[in-house]
Structures are given as structure tokens and as C-alpha cells.
């Protein structure tokens, strides 16, 4: 279970999160919606451990472990995965090298042997096919020259390979056409499991047609201001974010 209590966080002295409370049990998918600037992406980065943000108050635990005391790589090994809104391009590092280094880092922390080359390639090939990712694409440097859709599918591929238990998806649908949204959603749905929790950050309701959430939360000015079932997303789609903060997008 993910438990966030009274979370306050700031960047460069500017408070972004102002007492956020949120609980996501295992096996559930929760969506966080809200206007631009409400702090959604900040929450995602803080869960993954980006040190640009300073947590000034509150607690974040995952399965009882205090995430805030861990380095980003330790959080990843504890099961946290952030699918980035803007995946980074890494010139000079082939995707296959990157994936292999990441998988083996996880295996090492579990006391398992590193994958052999054939084992690794078989594993990647299987998962990549379902996400419509070619092996040629994975020979290229990480995300370099990838289209917006390819970058997002690459994020989901990493998620599928690393098998995290807490998946945080930050605006995974942004910039995707409808076919890409479908492929990405199928990838996410394939990972749904009673042992896994999802936190989906999205500005639009569209993605939730494909990945149906158990709960929808509305975030405004750094706090959760309203929670409800999946129908809440449809209501927001009609009425917009008017009344949920300064930026009524």
C-alpha cells in the first residue's frame, strides 16, 4: 500500500505540495487529475526521488517502507517505477545496454545471477513485440530519434521488464495519437495484478477509457481536493477544472 500523509514539498523555496494525503492499496489503479500547475508531476518526481524537490513535512511509505529516506535507485529496487512524461534521450548509450544494466541491477539486489545474453534478448523480444517495438529501435541510443509515441512505448517496455510493484505514470497519454494510446494502455492493463498498485497522472479523461481506474482524485494547489469513482473523470471532462484552482484549464 502507498500511503502519503500531509506531504509538503517545495522547489527553490516555492511550495508546490501543501499537505497532500493519498492512499493507494495494492491491486488498485488510482488516477490523479487536475489543472496544470496543481503539483501532479511534482508528486510523481517526489515518489521517484528527484532531489530538485525538498520535502518539508509529511511521510511517504510503500509497503511500510519510508521512501523519502531512499536514493532513487533504492526506490526502484523497492518496486517504484516512474514512467516519465518526457523520457530522457541518452546519446551514446544503446537501449539494449541500458535495459540490460537496469535489469541486472535489479537482479543483483535480489541476489540473482545476471541474465545471459540469449536469456536477456529473448526476454526483451517477447515484451517488445507486444508493444510494437522493433529490435532495431532498441539498438539505437536510448530515446534518441524516437518519436513521442516510441518514447512512451519504451517507458512501458521498461516497466514490463522491471516488473515494479508501484507504477507511477506521468501524463503517459500526452502527445499520443489514438492508436498509440491503445497500445500503451494494453501494455499497462497487461501488468494489472493484485500485487501491483498504479498511480496514473493525467490531464485528460481519454486515457481512462482504456485503463479504467478504481478511484479518481482531483488535485488542486498541491492537495487532493476531491476523490471519487471512475465517474468523477467523466464529470470533470464535462465541467472542466473550473473551480479547482487558479489555472482553470
Amino acid at each position: 500500500m502507498l500511503e502519503i500523509r500531509n506531504l509538503h514539498a517545495e522547489i527553490d523555496g516555492k511550495e508546490i505540495l501543501r499537505g497532500l494525503d493519498l492512499t493507494v492499496p495494492k491491486g488498485e489503479i488510482h488516477a490523479i487529475m487536475g489543472p496544470n500547475g496543481s503539483g501532479k508531476s511534482t508528486l510523481a518526481y517526489i515518489l521517484a526521488g528527484k532531489d530538485d524537490y525538498e520535502v518539508t513535512e509529511g511521510t511517504v511509505t510503500w509497503n511500510g517502507e519510508n521512501l523519502l529516506e531512499m536514493d532513487p535507485d533504492e526506490r526502484a529496487k523497492a518496486g517504484v517505477f516512474l514512467a516519465f512524461q518526457y523520457p530522457m534521450e541518452i546519446p551514446g548509450v544503446a537501449s539494449m545496454t541500458f535495459l540490460r544494466t537496469a535489469i541486472n541491477a535489479h537482479r543483483k539486489s535480489r541476489g540473482e545471477a545476471e541474465l545471459t545474453t540469449p536469456e536477456f534478448i529473448r526476454l526483451v523480444k517477447d515484451k517488445a513485440e507486444t508493444l510494437n517495438i522493433s529490435m532495431d529501435m532498441l539498438k539505437r541510443p536510448v530515446n534518441v530519434g524516437f518519436s513521442g509515441g516510441e518514447k512512451k512505448r519504451h517507458e512501458i517496455l521498461q516497466m514490463a521488464l522491471l516488473q515494479p510493484s508501484l507504477c507511477v505514470l506521468d501524463e503517459t497519454d500526452s502527445g499520443l495519437d489514438i492508436d498509440a494510446v491503445r497500445i500503451v494502455s494494453e501494455g499497462v492493463n497487461a501488468l494489472r495484478s493484485p500485487e501491483r498498485a498504479f498511480l496514473m497522472i493525467t490531464h485528460y479523461q481519454r486515457l481512462l477509457d482504456y485503463i479504467v481506474p478504481d478511484k479518481v482524485h482531483v488535485m488542486s494547489a498541491g492537495r487532493i481536493v476531491r476523490s471519487g469513482g471512475k465517474d468523477l473523470a467523466l464529470e470533470l471532462e464535462k465541467s472542466g477544472y473550473a473551480g479547482y484552482g487558479a489555472d482553470a484549464a
Binding site: 526521488g49 535507485d73 541518452i90 551514446g92
Partner: protein
């Protein structure tokens, strides 16, 4: 020319003088035993060189080209020339251990220890037709007419200090000659090892003449067996004939008590194709100079360098590129990874002579600074006297990208591994230029070991 009179009292105690005077005094003691001594042409060459050196001495930072590498300050003492008589015992296994990853390369091997060829450690079998290989010591001792005719004639730099010293003291080196159309299927690998118990100086002069349409790869590896302080001065003359293709790779991986001055003098004929890749992770002080001259149209030369430096290592890669022919291409790209108090230097001066139209010249210097105390000095210079040319330069330096580090770590990759991955990616662009697969793998493995 006359050799200026020395202060005899000071000469009695070498430590009381600066390195310039020590070098002049050492020449006076050593000249009679240098190879070719007694031959008037060789004696004159050496004596003129030391006399010219004696006037100016080692350059200090007030000399523009030495602004970032104050040789007079950094080379405070001149070690005595390695004696040809005292040969440190060194086994093939020790040479391989000193070479590390580069030991496995299949090549025609010439192993030099402390500036002198060691036949028993070398393997020069299997040279194809049209390729001749000898050593400078042999050539000078036998007054080889061909060598004496080409020696010092490849893109000479009048009054240049380091090459003057080399001419005075040169004791051995590789002389490689390719007849027109000759093709080497394996690289020629010069391996220089310093060894022994006392500080020493070694001076090598290599000559590579690639005839029309010939093809060769020449690798120079400089390493140490042990912690002996050493000073190396290496000049490599490379004459690349019409349409010839020469690959020139260099590893400077000596111990951190070594000072290494090197000069590549390159002259390109019409349609010549020259590629140089320099890899430097050794020495406390290094100055690797390249003097390139385009003497025929449509030639191309690409120079790539990588510097991996820690502690107080100082490595300077300096190029003078002289475009004196139509339609030639030059590339200079250096990547430096600098930790602790290390200092990397890259200077490239590209001169486009009147008439050298359609010159295409590009240079780039990039440094990754792993410490606030590391320093990278990049000085690109363009001197263009033709009006139809395409030349540009750029330089960047900075720390590792925090956002990239976070992305890697968010995937569970520990900090040290993430850093290593990003640094390998940074220098990969240079290492990828090495066309010889075995050497490319060896240098990549060496870089990975450096990062570990």
C-alpha cells in the same frame, strides 16, 4: 652554430640548474654515443638542433602556443638519457601486463624498452611484399641513404622546441616504408615500455612513408612496467602519399611519474586519407602535438582525441593544421573527462592558405568535469586567407547531466554505474572512430577499467 658556453661550476651539480641547461649538458656528454655519431650529416643535424634549443630553452607560458602548458615550470628537471648499455630484464609477460587490454592485438610488433628496440620481445614476421621495416638506430648506424634523405623533411616546424630536442637526442624508433600500392593486412604496433629503478629519458623518432595508394595502420602504445619516473620525447613523421590511406592510433598510458612530449609531423599528398585517434589516460604531464600539412588537393585528415585524467594529471593536445591545397577536409574532435585537479588542454589552429579554396574544416572540444577543481582549456583558432571555405569550431564543458543521472537511477541503476555508463557514452563518440576492431575493444575496455 656554436653551442653557448655553459657555467661549468653549475654543471657539476645538475640539480642546481634548470632543465634546459641540463639538457644541453647531457647532449655534450651523450652525443658521441648516439647512433650515427661520426657521420657528419647526422652530427651536424644533432648539433644544430641542440644549439638552436640552447638559445631559447624550454618554452614557458609567455610563449603563446605554450600558454596552458608551462613546460619550463612543469619540467623542472631533465632526467638522464637511458643508457643503451643497461638493459632492464623484462619478459614478454611483463610487457603484456604493462600493455593491458592492448596486448592481444594481432600486429607486427616492435617492442622498445627505455628507448631501445628489444629484438627478443618483438615479432616482425609476416610483412607483405612492398613493405620494409627497420629501426632508426639501425638506419643511423648504417648511414642509410634513404632514411637520411627523408629524416626531418616531413612538414618540418622551424625552431619548434620539442622537435629540436628530439633531433638532438633521437636514439631509436620505427622506420616503416610502404611502396606504392602496398597494403598491410595487420597493423604495425610500436610498443614502448619504461622500466628500471632510476629516472630516465627516452627519445624516439619514427618515420612512416606511405607510397601512392598504399594502406597501413600504425599503432603507438606507451606504457610503464613499474613506477620509474620517465621523460619521453617522440617524433613521428608521417608522409601520406597520393591516395594512400593511413590509420594512426596512439595510446599514452604510462605511470603518473612520466612526462611525455610527442609530435606527429604529417604531410598529405593529393587524395590522401589520414585518421588519427589519440587515447591518453597516463602520465603526469603530456603534450601531444600534431602538425598537419595538406600539400595535395582533395586530402582528408581526421583527428580524434580522448583524455581521461585524475589527480593532477595534465594533458595537452595541440594541433596546427595547415591547409595549403584545394578541396581538403579536416576534423579535430577532442573529448576530455577530468576529475580531481586534472587539467586538459586542446588547442587547434587551422590555417587556410590563399588558394586553399573549398576547404572544409571543423573542430570541436568537449569536456566532462567531474570535479569543481578540474580545468579544461580549449583554444580554437582559425586563420583564413581564402574566401570559399567552410570552417567552424565549438567547445563545451560541463558536469554530468543531473536529469540523465536521475533517469538512470530511477531505473535502479546505482550512482557509480550510472556515471560510468554516461561517461562511456561521452567518450564513445571518439572510440567509435577507431577502425581496428581489436584496438577499439581494447581501448573501450581500458576506459571501462579507468571508470571502475
Amino acid at each position: 652554430m656554436n653551442i653557448p658556453a655553459l657555467n661549468v661550476e653549475a654543471a657539476a651539480d645538475p640539480r642546481s640548474q634548470d632543465a634546459s641547461s641540463q639538457l644541453v649538458a647531457q647532449f655534450a656528454r651523450a652525443s658521441a654515443s648516439l647512433p650515427g655519431a661520426g657521420n657528419a650529416q647526422i652530427d651536424d643535424l644533432r648539433e644544430d638542433a641542440i644549439a638552436e634549443f640552447a638559445v631559447a630553452g624550454l618554452p614557458n607560458r609567455r610563449v603563446e602556443q605554450w600558454k596552458y602548458t608551462d613546460l619550463r615550470r612543469m619540467m623542472s628537471e631533465a632526467y638522464p638519457p637511458a643508457s643503451a648499455k643497461s638493459k632492464p630484464a623484462l619478459t614478454a609477460a611483463q610487457v603484456e601486463a604493462a600493455l593491458g587490454e592492448a596486448a592481444g592485438i594481432d600486429a607486427v610488433k616492435l617492442v622498445f624498452v627505455n628507448g631501445a628496440l628489444r629484438h627478443e620481445l618483438s615479432d616482425v614476421n609476416g610483412l607483405p611484399a612492398g613493405v620494409s621495416l627497420t629501426t632508426l638506430a639501425e638506419a643511423l648506424k648504417s648511414h642509410d641513404a634513404w632514411v637520411l634523405a627523408v629524416l626531418g623533411r616531413t612538414n618540418p616546424q622551424a625552431g619548434e622546441t620539442v622537435t629540436l630536442l628530439n633531433t638532438a637526442f633521437m636514439s631509436d624508433g620505427v622506420v616503416l616504408r610502404l611502396e606504392p600500392g602496398a597494403k598491410l593486412d595487420r597493423p604495425v604496433h610500436l610498443i614502448h615500455v619504461t622500466a628500471g629503478d632510476t629516472p630516465l629519458a627516452a627519445t624516439l623518432r619514427n618515420i612512416v612513408v606511405a607510397g601512392e595508394g598504399s594502406e597501413a595502420a600504425f599503432i603507438e602504445s606507451y606504457v610503464s612496467a613499474g613506477a620509474t619516473p620517465a621523460q619521453l620525447n617522440v617524433v613521428t613523421e608521417l608522409s601520406v602519399g597520393p591516395g594512400a590511406k593511413l590509420r594512426h592510433y596512439k595510446l599514452s598510458g604510462e605511470n603518473k611519474r612520466t612526462q611525455h612530449l610527442s609530435s606527429a609531423m604529417v604531410e598529405l599528398s593529393e587524395g590522401a586519407d589520414y585518421l588519427a585517434v589519440n587515447f591518453a589516460d597516463g602520465t603526469e604531464l603530456a603534450r601531444h602535438q600534431t602538425f598537419l600539412k595538406y600539400a595535395g588537393k582533395g586530402a582528408r585528415a581526421h583527428f580524434y582525441g580522448t583524455q581521461l585524467l585524475v589527480e593532477r594529471q595534465h594533458c595537452d593536445m595541440t594541433l596546427i593544421v595547415n591547409h595549403d591545397a584545394v578541396g581538403c577536409e579536416s576534423r579535430e574532435h577532442v573529448k576530455a573527462v577530468l576529475a580531481d585537479h586534472a587539467q586538459g588542454v586542446f588547442q587547434a589552429k587551422v590555417i587556410v592558405q590563399p588558394g586553399a579554396q573549398q576547404t572544409d574544416g571543423r573542430q570541436m572540444a568537449q569536456a566532462l568535469l567531474l570535479s569543481d577543481n578540474a580545468e579544461f582549456d580549449a583554444k580554437p583558432e582559425l586563420e583564413i586567407y581564402a574566401d570559399d571555405v567552410k570552417c567552424n569550431h565549438g567547445a563545451t564543458s560541463g558536469a554530468l547531466d543531473d536529469d540523465l543521472m536521475f533517469y538512470l537511477r530511477a531505473r535502479g541503476i546505482p550512482e557509480i554505474e550510472a556515471r560510468s555508463l554516461l561517461i562511456q557514452a561521452f567518450i564513445g563518440e571518439v572510440l567509435d572512430q577507431v577502425e581496428h576492431e581489436g584496438l577499439r575493444d581494447a581501448l573501450s575496455a581500458r576506459a571501462a577499467r579507468w571508470l571502475a
